[in-house]
Symmetry: C2
Subunit: 478 residues, 2 copies
């Protein structure tokens, strides 16, 4: 008989949210520390979540004509330097390769912090004619940024992501595609991860190094801090000019194409944890949960129970669900705690009395709601309950977001609202970087985004008093 072990306690989220987060990452076996500070190991359960995210997003990308490629991980320093704003932003965070085997390299190479320069160097070779456009590429890879601080999923020196890079014949088409990709991310977050988002544009101060415009989706975590969950950048023809990428247009003229890039990373997993998790651990959105349904036999030593549970698991698997049966010797209490910690969306319990009555019991992870399910309706009821889990998770997160957006008309009011409530504080804004810095200094908030859905709160910028046409969200961000 296997020894019983209790699921270890995690810190209460109300007591210490940061410690709760780290505890969940470790106890749900999502991640482990490596020999290098700030570099993490994605364990099977954490990586399986990323695989599911990747599979759904990849299909959405391919639907809009995006093709996957794989570019080198190393960037020669001279290539990184071709676009001035870009290198200024990234060089301080680069890890540099200076030796190959026992030889000093003539030029040092950085491990990609992002791959605009590599894609541009390739685009220069493969784009000749307007018939080659649009060219829509993406890659799934890891990137490296040598940052000082780190936290699981939120800030790694090395992290997994996807980066899309596209080239278009016109500025209009590139602009439209930038926004299309942002909307794909936003829909994915809401419909797949049950994470409501605010869609908007970044200020010049916060935009990507080298971009003309950066669009963002901003989410609100359970502790009311903001998380930037995905970004999409419009580059104009700045990189194309720096890299001398030209195509022959329909009038036989040589012109520069227009560019976009867009990415999401394993940071999304951090967002899932902090949006949906509770004091029993992870709560996973059904659509990306590695195990969607856990089937547990009750009093499994009694005749027929394990077989009945196995039959249920087999039926659900046949219906296309990701199912596991746990008929191990661990106690029911241990199993329930374990699969709650792992955030499995739905638990199916099946004991001798259930079998007699031709039923089983479904328990939802997000709210503990129990449903008695007639075995003849098994597949349909389970599907409906999984949808109910998703809907319940989304509704709860949406309520958290909606009830923590505050309106301020002075710097002082903004500061007090943030200190009292967290969340997003919305104000008018004159558009100056000076006021943006002041908000950070005084109220500790950075600009999150200029929402697409604009409102007119006031006539003036509450920071400098000048005329203001723009409504902006501020917050404290991860």
């Amino acid at each position: 008989m296997a020894k019983e072990k209790r699921v270890e306690q995690i810190t209460d989220m109300e007591v210490d949210f940061a410690q709760w987060f780290t505890d969940v990452c470790r106890k749900a076996q999502l991640i482990d520390y490596s020999a290098i500070k700030g570099v993490f190991i994605y364990r099977p359960y954490g990586y399986a979540i990323w695989e599911n995210i990747r599979n759904v997003l990849d299909a959405a990308f391919k639907k809009v004509g995006v093709e996957n490629v794989y570019m080198p991980m190393l960037i020669p320093e001279s290539l990184l330097q071709k676009e001035k704003d870009h290198v200024e932003g990234f060089a301080p965070e680069c890890a540099w390769v200076t030796m190959g085997g026992s030889e000093q390299l003539e030029e040092r190479y950085c491990i990609r912090p992002t791959s605009e320069t590599l894609f541009c160097d390739h685009f220069k070779n493969v784009i000749q004619s307007h018939r080659d456009l649009p060219m829509k590429y993406n890659q799934w890879c890891s990137v490296l940024r040598w940052e000082k601080t780190s936290r699981p999923f939120l800030r790694h020196r090395e992290f997994l992501w996807q980066e899309g890079h596209t080239m278009h014949a016109t500025a209009e088409e590139a602009e439209a595609f930038t926004q299309q990709m942002l909307n794909i991310y936003a829909d994915f977050c809401e419909n797949v991860l049950a994470m409501p988002v605010t869609r908007g544009r970044k200020t010049d101060k916060e935009k990507f190094n080298g971009a003309e415009a950066t669009y963002t989706i901003e989410c609100m975590m359970h502790d009311r801090k903001a998380l930037q969950a995905g970004t999409s950048h419009y580059f104009g023809d700045g990189f194309a000019k720096a890299f001398e990428i030209e195509y022959t247009d329909q009038n036989n003229r040589k012109v520069n194409p227009f560019q976009t890039s867009w990415g999401v990373s394993t940071r999304l997993i951090g967002g899932i944890i902090m949006t949906h998790g509770d004091n029993n651990g992870l709560v996973l959105p059904p659509k990306i949960a590695p195990t969607q349904v856990i089937v547990l036999p009750i009093a499994q030593h009694k005749p027929g129970v394990t077989e009945a549970a196995a039959a249920i698991a087999a039926r659900l698997e046949k219906a296309g669900l990701r199912v596991r049966l746990d008929s191990s010797e661990q106690s029911m209490g241990w199993k329930c705690a374990e699969y709650e910690m792992k955030g499995v969306p739905l638990r199916v319990e099946c004991g001798p009395r259930d079998i007699e009555n031709g039923q089983c019991v479904l328990v939802r992870r997000n709210d503990g709601e129990k449903t008695v399910c007639a075995l003849e309706d098994l597949e349909g009821t389970v599907m409906a309950q999984l949808q109910a889990v998703h809907d319940g998770m989304y509704a709860k997160a949406k309520a958290n977001l909606d009830s923590h957006i505050y309106e301020a008309h002075s710097l002082q009011e903004a500061k007090e609202l943030q200190e009292r409530n967290g969340g997003f504080v919305k104000t008018m804004w004159c558009g100056s970087e000076e006021c943006e810095r002041k908000m950070k200094e005084v109220a500790g908030m950075s600009s999150r985004c200029i929402p697409f859905a604009q409102e007119r709160l006031d006539e003036r910028c509450p920071i400098c008093g000048r005329h203001a046409d723009t409504m902006i969200y501020w917050g404290v961000a991860y």
Copy 2:
């Protein structure tokens, strides 16, 4: 109307096989050169082949209980040095990171050439009890080996691969699993890539650095050179001891587990090209071809033709096939040459007369064989023809392999057979590294493998004349 461009010529394989190979890699748009010597870009068509290989293999791995993880790309030098044989083999080929941002690192890190050391460092943390075993992990990633020479797919400084790493309670179980994985690779090559293999063991000289035994699958290319297509290693408990990995067994004793690792890489794509390709370009195995069927309308300006072709494509797509319709303005000649170059296994042609007769014409890429197909039997006939393409490709490659295995009874005979015919030369072997080196010096051949299927050719080693129990294959390898 788009300008017509002709598919560019490629070198004849009989004239210059190496140049033919490079031409195919470029003209079929599989790969491009990057800014760094020896580092290549996987273009969409090349990467799509890899994605299909990955999807099939990944499912086979998961079926035997393997879980995916992602380990860091950087290895601290001190970690790499823990296993003596291992570091000796890999250190000369490592690329070293010595700077993070603007700071010199205290310890330099190498970019993983392979990840045994990283996995061991992690296993030490996560393996405690016999209940944690077996632990079967795999990762899909890129690795870096700073080699002097390079060729597309065959030898990159950075290449994509998968590396499996497992830990087992007993030596027997680990040994058996090592061979199970080799058989998964072998079956994959034969049943999916239509590449016949020879299964066997590597000599001590050729085995992996730090392994007790390395098993290999060896393929024969069209030019009769050998390609090592995949390897599987048994480590015993050597790494476990070096890294102090211990578990508590059922008798409550602390013992070391036993280890395996196994990998295949994008080298397989090189193998596909050189096994199946011809003077018209690539010939892709149907099961991993990004486009399995290309549908071409003939005389597409005539009423109903494009619609009929589109209907065919739609039906085949619905049947689960990867299909493309090309109704562009390019000429039929251009299109045929283009999709032959890209190795699309089956071409469907459909013109006005076909429509009248309720039929279409299927043309096989591998042998040019044409079949008239009644539209009512479309899906079944296309599936059968794709299977026929696979079978035809396998039969041709198997005939090439079988007819170029030669038997030698003296060093001189081995040398002459290789010079005259290429292929594998099989001899008895005494087991000494000295004789192995002599074969290389005199006949230019390295040992490929000690086949599992042994034969007794002779009583003596043809190199030294001593008693010999082992039959071995020699060859010139990529």
